[in-house]
Amino acid sequence: MAPVSTERDLRLDLFRGIALWLIFLDHIPSNAVSWITIRNYGFSDATEIFVFISGYTAAFVYGRAMDQHGFVVSSARVLKRAWQIYVAHVFLFAIYLAEIAYVAHSFDNPLYTEEMGVLDFLKNPDSTILQALLLKFKPVNMDVLPLYIVLLAWFPPILWLLRRAPSTALIASAAFYSLTWWFDWNIPAWPKGVWLFNPFAWQMLFVFGAWCALGGAQRLSRWINSPIVITLAVFYLAFAFFIALSWYVPRLAPYVPKIVGDVIYPIDKTNLDVLRILHFLSLAVITVWFVPRDWPLLRSRAAWPAVVCGQHSLETFCLGVFLSFAGHFMFTEVSNRLPMQVVVSLAGIAIMVGTAALISWYRRVERRGPGPRPPAATPRYAGGA
């Protein structure tokens, strides 16, 4: 059996917390503060970090549960988690409906007759709500949770295989990814198109994260720390940075040779482009190099706000989606000047941290239990994956 380290790696919580903040900032439309997020400096963005770490922690937490309680019980826990995420998604959809209904009611501008057509689905709520429950209707910025639901729903057999034959599982996942690209597999969406995050492609990053958690990271450590790999990673990040710069400074665009452009574009987010994976891996290599597992700052006060958000990722993620709606509402109703954008961004992160801290506190109280009985021996899983 693969060796599973027993101590939680706080780096995962830290970077997942930061990824959640970045996703929140990116989800507020026209937010100048989102200029700081990594999607502007290369090919990958916070989604990769979130999916990879979610795979890692899912394997870590449910792998341990599989040791203690066996396949059936731990699978039931994984599915329960998927169900919780589904409920969270439906809850967010209700908020989305409320916002869209408000705009439909209050905004009427001749310039935007075409755009207002987006509200037409309010006229036939039967099919809209049904399609939303089937995860086929895809409101803007609500694509991560459906992906997460599918990834978790598949996870029990994958975890089982990962623990018996990790290399086989990883190769199978990569093969599935390749077949997805070859045959253009995806889940159809409604009314048109496909899922924005193709689960058949994105599963590879999730499985890779899980593989790393189950001993893969140790096997890779010789590679990760080799100067050649680090140098390659630095060069790749620099290349991606230059390309990203050319998106924002049109004058640089002609400097990108046509052949390079023809090769790299389009950088496919839906199907998790190889360029994005490489970019994420380069970032990960550099990060691991700079931030060792026992980095003292991980336990410091400075890191705590991100760590606590990362430890309660589902709640923080959902809250972030809600807050990005609220933030956008503030922009259109109150002001969209720069100071307001900074205030909304900082206030949103503060609310996310505060809520995560509250959940953390409540969990501790709950676990202590009401009476003198010793705490139940269930492993802590709810905040994990």
Binding site: P29, F107, N109, E115, V249
Partner: protein, 255 residues
């Protein structure tokens, strides 16, 4: 922020040419007009004094009301061009119908091209695709298809992306599709009229209020007028030996 960067890099162009009648509020966005690519067919057509233009678009290429077509940017472009090019016979034909995806427009394009024989196709699209969540690959393919059809019919192409619509920003992923159009324009080496960024600049600077203004046709008319003027500016720059391309050739010329 992107605009602030662009502003910094492009400030010498701010003092660029503007016609006497072009409203000052339009000129606020003039530095956004720096075509990296030329319009050879248009240049030749101007020399030959005959400039037929075809505008293909969806709902945001027209305004409601009895005077809607006249106040919308295709008609405004025609009069702006007429003022610049007095001796040239300019005709602007529009094929504008709301709720059409790029693929739907590309399908009818061949017939339009055969009928009007334009030297320039101005193609506004991307809004309905974003609303429907059309597959991004299919959107790209539809653009490729339309551009190739226009080029093989002997026409230059200018793409116009979606309007910036702050109220519906959290409901329609317009910017994703606007970005795709930017990339497609680069790949095909044709000018893009970045309506999204231009309108966003107006909104950011407070030139036009795009969030409130319930049912005020006045602002919509002024915006379409500006788009007409700026499109004429874009064509002008693109015809003049490739506009910004000469500046691009010299590193640092923009600073």
């Amino acid at each position: 922020m992107r605009k602030r960067l662009a502003l910094l890099l492009a400030w010498p162009l701010l003092a660029g040419p503007a016609m006497a009648d072009e409203p000052a509020e339009c000129q606020v966005a003039q530095h956004q007009i720096e075509p990296a690519f030329t319009l050879p067919h248009v240049a030749a057509a101007i020399a030959a004094k005959k400039l037929p233009i075809l505008v293909v678009g969806a709902g945001s290429s027209v305004l409601p009301g009895s005077n809607g077509a006249n106040a919308a940017y295709p008609a405004r472009l025609q009069s702006a061009l007429q003022e610049r090019l007095p001796g040239v016979a300019i005709t602007v034909t529009s094929d504008v119908k709301s709720k059409r995806t790029a693929a739907e427009m590309a399908k009818t394009l061949a017939a339009d091209l055969a009928q009007t024989k334009p030297v320039l196709l101005i193609w506004q699209t991307g809004t309905f695709d974003a609303m429907q969540g059309v597959d991004q690959d299919q959107f790209t393919q539809a653009l490729d298809q339309g551009i190739n059809a226009a080029r093989s019919a002997g026409a230059d192409v200018i793409l116009i992306n979606a309007q910036y619509s702050p109220r519906t920003e959290s409901m329609i992923a317009l910017s994703t599709y606007a970005d795709i159009m930017r990339q497609v324009a680069l790949q095909h080496e044709l000018p893009l009229f970045d309506r999204f960024e231009i309108m966003k600049l107006w909104a950011d600077l407070g030139t036009f209020d795009l969030t409130s203004a319930p049912n005020k046709l006045d602002i919509a008319v002024r915006i379409h007028n500006c788009i007409g003027w700026l499109l004429a500016d874009l064509m002008d720059e693109a015809v003049k030996e490739g506009g910004a391309q000469s500046a691009v050739g010299k590193p640092g010329a923009g600073n």
